[in-house]
Amino acid sequence: MENSLGKSINFIRTSEKAEHQVTHHHKIGHKHGEGSAIDFYAYASKLRCWNPTFKVVFSFLTLLLCIGLNNPFVSIAVIIGMAYLTVLKGGLSLAAYISVLMIPITFIIMGTIAIGVDFSSQPIGQFNLFLGFGYLFTSVDKLQEMAFLMLKVFGAISAMIMMTLSTPSSEIIGVLRKAHVPKLIIELMNLIYRYIFILMDVFNNMRNSADSRQGYCDFKTSCTTFGSVASNLLVVSLKKANAYYTAMEARGYEGDLIFLEDEKKMPMRHLVIGAAFIIFLIILGIMTH
């Protein structure tokens, strides 16, 4: 009796957990398994009907300017411009946008601290802290450099996620194909992109069934379960690879994979506004140099 009660409570807990994971999407913070989320946003974006080549080239140019000019004003302009495009034009909710933007936050905080703070055996610099074996020190200049670096990184990230949040990967691959990336790599990318979702699905099923059998109850069991699931996943994926090759051959595969790509119009308006933004960034960079 007690046991079954415990189990039912446990069941409720796990279903709460599942609910929690469903609602988790719009929380700010670092999380993973986000893959399908970004892909989902890309398909749902209102910018999806824009010409993919334009989006890729535009965001790449913005990214290059943001890094190349290395100027806080340019970074702020890029952050604002890209947020405007993704949230207001693209129709993504602000919370979702910020949560995607925050994915690399740990790396940024840790990396920036390592750049801004220095150590030495003498108490030098404007601020220092004795740590037993030496001094951690920093200065106003360093702190300013840290802040500017953070702005630059966020500018660069927002330029890139403008592209990824509005262009599904298959269209990005299409752009790469037009840029004459070798055929073998394009084919592999197309296949890998599709297989990722298949394997994710298989993995989720395996994980759920392991989880419902208490496969993740403690650390040691989790390790064993993880290993078994991962090795099983490889076996399943290799079997699938053979089956997919047979399926491809049955449909007349003779060494060329051709994927359907729909052509999207390139309105003059986008080109003009895009060029204006790029020129604005360059002028802003030179003026505030």
């Binding site: 990214l63 330029a159 592999l188 290993g227 078994s228 991962a230």
Partner: protein, 254 residues
């Protein structure tokens, strides 16, 4: 600030700072992708150029494999997808934190270092577009640390260990853990080169980056080693024929 605190208080602050550093940041460990915008343009290009010979070698070997056996195209693609999925999985950890395998050590052991360079590049592209880890401009640096240096180190250690006739599972553990560790060394060095310390130059800066990332990366390398051994044991038990299939790609675990 310096005059107002006595030594005991300073010690206390130091200990608190150390604890905050270790525990404050461990919850989110990840393979060390250098983020978009972190490297100056010169370094982005330089690391890209350094990768090119490895990528060309990988491309050639892949082309040759495909010519001999066209069936390997889906196998290679599955291998790439597998490395991606593996690297996006949450792995069990003691603190309830959220961390990931790099998957490159296992990939190098299973598929060999040559195809892994190209597959790793593609996986990194998808990690930046689908997961927002890493970036386009830092692709060269990340490819070098994760798709070239790490796998080559892991494969080298694996082959060397087998030659020295050490227990295979110990070798797999060492290869995966040290491959991961090597990636962490290279990334820290890449960051240090781009941001040398004023007082001590690149060397001091490397030590800073190594220290900052050590609490997340060292346990991660060890866990990755253990999990890789568990996966290999599972494969040896259930998937001998599939492992033989993989011999096509490389002469990995045969």
């Amino acid at each position: 600030m310096n005059t107002s605190l006595n030594i005991r208080e300073k010690r206390f602050i130091a200990v608190v700072a150390a604890i905050a550093l270790v525990f404050g940041f461990t919850p989110v460990a990840n393979a060390m992708h250098i983020m978009e915008g972190y490297l100056p343009v010169g370094f982005c290009i330089a690391w890209g150029v350094i990768c090119i010979p490895f990528l060309i070698a990988g491309y050639m070997s892949m082309k040759k494999t495909l010519k001999e056996n066209p069936k390997t195209i889906t196998l290679l693609a599955m291998a790439g997808a597998y490395v991606f999925v593996l690297s996006s999985l949450k792995i069990p950890s003691v603190t309830g934190s959220c961390s990931h395998m790099t998957g490159t050590g296992l990939g190098a052991i299973l598929f060999g270092p040559a195809p892994i360079s190209i597959l790793g590049l593609i996986v990194l592209v998808f990690q930046s577009t689908l997961l927002a880890h890493g970036g386009v401009t830092t692709l060269g640096a990340n490819t070098f640390s994760m798709a070239v240096a790490g796998p080559f180190a892991a494969y080298g250690i694996y082959k060397l260990g087998l030659k020295l006739k050490i227990n295979k599972h110990v070798v797999v553990f060492l290869a995966a853990a040290l491959g991961d560790f090597f990636t962490y060394l290279i990334t820290s060095f890449q960051l240090a080169l781009a941001y040398p310390s004023e007082a001590g130059g690149v060397a001091a800066s490397s030590i800073k980056f190594l220290a900052v990332f050590a609490p997340t990366q060292i346990p991660l390398a060890i866990i990755e080693g253990i999990l890789t051994v568990v996966i290999i044991i599972g494969l040896e038990t259930y998937a001998q024929p599939e492992l033989n299939d993989l011999g096509y790609l490389t002469g990995g675990v045969r």
